[in-house]
């Protein structure tokens, strides 16, 4: 048994079965309880980045081959040829559902619909889709390269076709998933627009016959879709001072110090 398998077997989660898909030609090791797959992300200090995926893999095999998960683990990992296309469709359909759920939130009714079509139970389908969602979010978060993604997925022992499918799913949607994830980060309201107006105060209750130039501004800010506008005022001298300060801020980005940092931290 491989070293990392031993480690997981001794983990406190006793209801987890360890299944390792080996390459074609070797028999898989039937083991005890449920199904967890360990993925090693080769980037960024590999030992620390183990992700556990509650994977649908074996359930999918079982669905397609009409065997129980445990029996499926005893077969060779190649699905039967006549079921290849069906398997591919199922996975791409699950992929599509996973992306849709990441966009709009989960919808339990879809699990039931799919379960009925595949004559399996809804929980199985749910695990499958959730596994794919997790795969997508983790890989998009870390922004791993194609090679790293393929290496990681290789551990699962799927066919090349399926690996390609997962890779395509990742590459197509990673920018979008990253955008969705970035909405979770803490943020301040950010600048949206500035409207300005030049006024001259000519009189007030306290003093008639004035000439007091002012600049009125409406600052539009946006905080996660919530727009707010603040009406502010300033006098000409302060306006010039503001412009000078902010131009200094912009110039700072072009200094060698800044450029060096931007260039080297990638």
């Amino acid at each position: 048994m491989s070293p990392f398998l031993t480690a997981f077997k001794n983990s406190p989660q006793s209801e987890i079965i360890f299944y390792v898909a080996r390459k074609t030609g070797q028999q898989s090791l039937p083991v005890d309880i449920s199904i967890t797959l360990c993925l090693f992300w080769p980037t960024e200090g590999a030992a620390r980045n183990r992700s556990f995926i509650h994977s649908c893999t074996n359930y999918l095999f079982a669905l397609v081959l009409e065997k129980t998960p445990l029996e499926a683990s005893r077969c060779q990992v190649h699905p039967q040829h006549q079921h290849k296309r069906l398997f591919k469709t199922v996975v791409s359909e699950f992929g599509r559902i996973a992306v849709e759920f990441l966009r709009r939130g989960t919808n339990p009714k879809i699990y039931e619909g799919a379960a009925r079509k595949l004559s399996a139970d809804a929980e199985t389908v749910q695990h499958g889709v959730e596994g794919l969602m997790y795969l997508l979010t983790e890989s998009s978060k870390l922004m791993i390269s194609e090679v790293d993604f393929q290496d990681s997925v290789l551990v699962l022992g799927f066919t090349d076709e399926l690996n390609q499918l997962l890779l395509q799913l990742y590459l197509e949607h990673r920018k979008e998933v990253r955008h969705i994830l970035s909405e979770l980060t803490p943020s301040l309201p950010h600048y949206h627009n500035l409207e300005w107006r030049l006024d001259v105060q000519v009189a007030s209750r306290a003093l008639r016959q004035q000439v007091k130039p002012t600049v009125s501004m409406k600052l539009h800010l946006e905080d996660r879709g919530e727009k707010s506008a603040k009406v502010l005022q300033t006098d000409p001298a302060t306006l010039i001072h503001l412009i000078q300060e902010l131009e200094k801020a912009l110039a700072e980005l072009k200094t060698t110090h800044c450029r060096r940092i931007l260039r080297n931290i990638k």
């Binding site: 803490p186 301040l188 627009n193 500035l194 300005w196 600049v215 009406v231 005022q233 006098d235 801020a249």
Partner: protein, 196 residues
């Protein structure tokens, strides 16, 4: 200049040489102007030695009338003829009118500045501070690698007793360029307006 009856009565008393001789009158007018311009309310403003002989009620009434008249004059931006004709109607002789007007000239611009600062206005921007940061990663997304600005506007709220607060917002380089561009447009149109 429209003045209420009580103010007119007070000023008429001031004009009366039986109640106020010229020296006392000058001192009272000077005290009235100075009390308007000074930053703190001074309760001992009428404790001048020249005022010892005068009835305190009358003194207060006249001081009140004088300050009201002064503020009305500054508010209306009154010129010499307006003030002279107003004071003459209240039985001021030429000498006292001259004394009043010369002190009026002395303190006029300070009083104008004071009055122009009274009033309601939207929060007033006093200063800006900025911070440039480079976002590397956060808990949800790694490899962000983007520079970003954090701008704080120091804003003074004239209505709530001059309390100042900070308005914070973040922006990218493009957004900051947009902001500065718009401010420059405003400054340019200001310049054009001054040249008209």
């Amino acid at each position: 200049m429209e003045l209420s009856e009580s103010v007119q009565k007070g000023l008429q008393s001031l004009a009366d040489p039986m109640l106020f001789d010229l020296k006392t009158f000058s001192v009272l007018i000077e005290v009235a102007f100075r009390s308007l311009v000074s930053a703190h309310a001074d309760s001992s403003v009428l404790d001048q030695p020249e005022f010892k002989r005068i009835d305190q009620m009358l003194l207060k009434h006249c001081h009140n009338a004088a300050t009201t008249c002064i503020l009305e004059g500054v508010k209306q931006n009154a010129d010499k003829s307006t003030i002279s004709s107003c004071l003459e109607d209240l039985r001021f002789d030429a000498e006292r009118t001259d004394v009043f007007y010369s002190i009026y000239q002395k303190y006029r611009s300070d009083l104008e500045t004071l009055l122009s600062s009274i009033g309601r206005c939207p929060p007033h921007i006093n200063d800006v501070s900025w911070r440039l940061e480079y976002r590397i990663k956060n808990g949800h997304v790694h490899k962000v690698n983007e520079p970003s600005y954090l701008i704080s506007l120091n804003v003074e709220n004239a209505n709530n007793g001059g309390s100042s607060e900070d308005l914070h917002f973040s922006c990218t380089m493009e957004q900051l360029q947009d902001l500065v561009g718009k401010m420059k447009d405003a400054a340019k149109s200001l310049e054009k307006a001054t040249q008209l």
